[in-house]
Symmetry: C2
DNA sequence: CCGATACGCAACGGTCCCGTTTCGTAAATA
DNA sequence: TATTTACGAAACGGGACCGTTGCGTATCGG
């Protein structure tokens, strides 16, 4: 008996290039980030951009959708750390993370895909939602529920409605903002007006 | 001098078929409504669906974008009549119109196009915004300003922020609602919670 | 060194769509 | 009737990608 091989015995032959794999995924994200829709994305364009043969792509992914799913999965989703001092501060942190992400072309286009190509690519959307949307949704839900329990929020508030108010308002700004960046204090202003409401405070 | 011809003298030859024109536009809207993006929309598919030769399309429109622009322009935008009794009622009317439109596949897909293909088709988006978005935006703006003036809304309210709150919350619901229809009283609930805010009322 | 596998590259046949042209027919005016 | 234009259908040459294959080279284990 000799020294153990690594847990998984490497098959004979030249190993696959990790560099090529990364280049392919980077090229995919680049093209998507430049505003290309999934349906317009071509394997040949990805291969060309990545400096790679088509063979190298087809050897790893069976179809375009699988590739895009893997590419989107590499977009890390580091949720902002929440201070936990006040519900208002935590909500501002969550919304400000949305604002910062909306400035990155890659995140922007991914959001577009998730929102408008959901019908055509259900698997893709499902995986993206599970990875990127759900954690944020649950984080916000936890903060709101904490606020209700602590008396910082209205005890009669419907949690889903509260999430729609906060997230929807931010989404609206990212979509229809006049071309430029969003105001740095946007998250704070949104949270304050959502909490106070638009009716006059007596 | 003889009897006057119709104001515009009809040129000799067979006149263009209005029926074909309508069929082409209907086919275009159908295909878009079935979830097809503008870039995937092909003239051949439109011609086939409309039961028309490609020639008949190219004779009328120079390119796909012109056709889509004309097709979208036929989607009427009848703003809801506002009772004017209270700002709350008028806001509910406006938001409920959004809810009803979001149930129509054609309107849904048009919204998708406007939101996610805006970069690729600026002319199309510009015209669509001018025709469909701006009138609604201005109607809501007028209601909010009236509310501020009458004391029904907070005098310190930023009008654009108020519009983002109301429209964004509705948009969020239409996008992420669990597959089915939206609750019939959604508009009313949204307006009430936006007005009251989510903080506890003392 | 040898066999095995991956690599980039180029070429393949096939499909879809492009925008144009041709053809025989239909519908209007003069 | 003669002329003019529009119509649907079909075919064209051309381009973009598809997914596959063959080629010569590179890189691994044995």
């Amino acid at each position: 008996m000799t020294i153990q091989e690594p847990a998984v015995a490497r098959p004979a032959g030249r190993p696959r290039s990790e560099k090529a794999e990364k280049a392919i995924i980077e090229a995919t994200l680049d093209l998507l980030g430049e505003g290309m829709g999934v349906s317009e994305l071509s394997i040949e364009a990805i291969a060309s951009r990545a400096g790679v043969g088509k063979t190298t792509i087809y050897r790893r992914w069976a179809n375009k959708e699988d590739l895009v799913v893997d590419a989107l999965a590499t977009l890390k989703a580091p949720l902002p750390e929440l201070s936990g001092t006040s519900v208002r501060d935590d909500l501002i942190s969550l919304l400000d993370a949305m604002r910062r992400e909306s400035a990155q072309p890659r995140s922007r286009c991914v959001m577009n895909i998730a929102m408008s190509e959901a019908d055509r690519y259900p698997r893709l959307t499902e995986r993206f939602v599970k990875r990127a949307i759900t954690p944020r949704r649950e984080a916000m839900r936890a903060v709101i529920e904490r606020g209700i329990a602590s008396g910082e929020l209205n005890p009669d508030l419907d949690v889903d409605m509260g999430m729609a108010l906060l997230s929807g308002t931010m989404l609206w700004h990212t979509k229809w903002a006049p071309e430029g960046e969003l105001a740095p204090d946007l998250a704070e202003r949104v949270v304050d007006v959502v909490m106070a409401g638009i009716a006059p405070r007596p």
